[in-house]
């Protein structure tokens, strides 16, 4: 009997590839011999667009990269411009940034958790996490009036102070959210079928994770202890007591579980930030027209997907000469092709889902 490998396109319309990502699979039966990821279906040229906008006008474009955690996307960009101009952000603004940033992280991890359950075949998880994500989005809407593309950060601070009605709502959320995490653990993490599908599947050894510049939960699931909030604290993160959860095996299960553990830590950070938050200004004294001196700056933050960096070059005019974004989803995908080799088609879905990509960020 003569057998031969055949080629199957997974995506771009497959739900697990978010509709804008394709993996060309060369298959031997159901086993993947070679996998070639093809991004680019959503590419909008944000880096080029930024060159024709003023520094402030770039902020809404960053929202549209990782639209599940827009606040964090704002943060990386404004941090780079602030570094370029030497702006000192007021303390209250830093605390607000931490609070909304961590809320965004929770919102993003909730999508990752729920959608991963759905990828594996349990749609209930999706409903549960989105129920709680609504609460987070309600709070963020109170702050900035938007539910997805927040554009709340400004160069030198944030757009507005937290409204009064935000405080009772967040207290209520802090009190109830750990129980929600327990619920996800009971519903998904503890599920036998889920474990059978994810444990020891798509293992990334720590040295490979470092070599391929992976970051965020994908890196830490392999046991590499690196979190910018801890290892190189920016903003006011050095004032909070929290842990960086680590995985043991670097498999799909660890990557999934880590996000739930991280959400629990985020709640701890928000709680402390609310307690410590000082009164005062929320904006530094920044000229109306932003004209940074000639030069360049690179700043990075720990986004929900990993290290998010912005490299900004100024020629002294009102528009950035060049902006480059280091998007964690894009770089985390760089190892996907090799990671899928030797696994079955169904495992490819499990592996792709566990990396937690947002295509807006991959294609930028």
């Amino acid at each position: 009997m003569k057998t031969q490998t055949y080629v199957l396109n997974l995506g771009p319309q497959h739900p697990s590839t978010h509709g804008v990502f394709r993996i060309i699979l060369e298959l031997d039966g159901e086993t993947v011999v070679k996998a070639t990821p093809v991004p680019g279906y959503l590419h909008r040229g944000i880096e080029k667009l930024a060159e024709a906008r003023t520094y402030t006008q770039v902020i809404p474009y960053t929202d549209r990269m990782d639209y599940l955690a827009s606040m964090l996307m704002n943060w990386g960009y404004v941090a780079a411009v602030e570094k370029l101009m030497g702006i000192q952000v007021p303390e209250r603004a830093e605390y607000i940034r931490v609070i909304v940033g961590e809320l965004s992280r929770i919102a993003s991890h909730l999508v990752a958790t729920g959608a991963y359950g759905a990828d594996i075949g349990g749609l209930t998880a999706f409903i549960y996490t989105f129920r709680d994500r609504e609460d987070v989005l309600d709070m963020l809407e109170m702050i900035c009036g938007s539910r997805m593309t927040f554009s709340y950060f400004r160069i030198g601070g944030v757009a507005e102070d937290l409204p009064e009605e935000f405080y009772p709502k967040i207290k209520e959320f802090i009190a109830k959210f750990p129980a929600c995490c327990d619920e996800y653990d009971g519903l998904i993490t503890g599920n036998e079928i889920f474990q059978a599908r994810t444990k020891f599947v798509g293992v990334i050894p720590p040295e490979v994770a470092i070599n391929y510049s992976l970051s965020g939960p994908v890196l830490r699931a392999s046991g590499v202890n690196f979190d910018l909030r801890k290892n190189r604290p920016y903003s006011v993160y050095d004032r909070f007591d929290f842990e960086v959860p680590l995985g043991k095996n670097g498999d799909c299960f660890d990557r999934f579980r880590l996000r739930i553990l991280e959400m629990r830590q985020s709640i701890r950070i928000i709680e402390q930030a609310l307690e410590q938050m000082p009164e005062g200004e929320i904006m530094a004294r920044v000229p109306k027209v932003i004209k940074p001196p000639v030069g360049d700056a690179y700043a990075e933050i720990e986004s929900s997907k990993g290290i998010y960096g912005a490299y900004v070059v100024s020629d002294g005019s009102t528009k950035p000469y060049r902006v480059h974004f280091r998007r964690p989803s894009f770089i985390n995908l760089g190892y996907l092709g090799k990671l899928c080799e030797g696994w079955k088609i169904a495992d490819v879905i499990a592996i792709l889902g566990s990396i937690d990509i947002v295509l807006g960020e991959v294609d930028c």
Partner: protein, 153 residues
């Protein structure tokens, strides 16, 4: 932002090993393309630096040159470093690929090739476009890029 910089003696040792290296006040290192690969290898493999993580890699189109920018982190020591590599040949910009050192350079170099048209010598195979179609004319992140029917610069 709290950042840990390379100690002065390590920088001095680096300048000694690679003569002609420019070290700016803010520790940005500028190296020519010929010595980029050995320098990166030294930074990665010498345990004094242990810069085993290539965070970021990108290119900039200046009026007289292209310039590659690399950001490195050492997990062990916590150092971070920016390395710049100017490419004076504006017509045919080319730089050694870092793929032999880091797997993470692979996709990032493909992105730079696609959008900026910089060639990477030693890239496994040849860098192919990653975001745009294979037959797309030109490289959009170049300053002189103008597409038919596009907005005037």
């Amino acid at each position: 932002m709290a950042q840990k910089q390379l100690p002065a003696e390590l920088l001095a040792a680096l300048s000694e090993k690679f003569p002609g290296l420019q070290v700016a006040e803010n520790q940005v290192i500028t190296v020519d393309a010929a010595r980029l690969l050995p320098l990166m290898q030294e930074l990665k493999e010498n345990p004094d630096y242990a810069m085993d993580y290539l965070t970021n890699l990108t290119g900039v189109d200046y009026a007289d040159r292209f310039e590659m920018v690399y950001n490195l982190i050492s997990f062990e020591h916590g150092y971070e470093l920016m390395v710049k590599c100017p490419l004076p040949d504006k017509e045919n910009p080319s730089v050694p690929s870092l793929c032999p050192l880091w797997g993470g350079a692979n996709w990032q170099e493909r992105e730079v090739y696609d959008l900026m048209g910089i060639n990477f010598t030693g890239y496994p195979g040849h860098p192919t476009r990653i975001f745009l179609e294979d037959n797309f004319p030109g490289h959009p992140l170049r300053k002189d890029f103008q597409w038919e029917g596009g907005r005037e610069a």
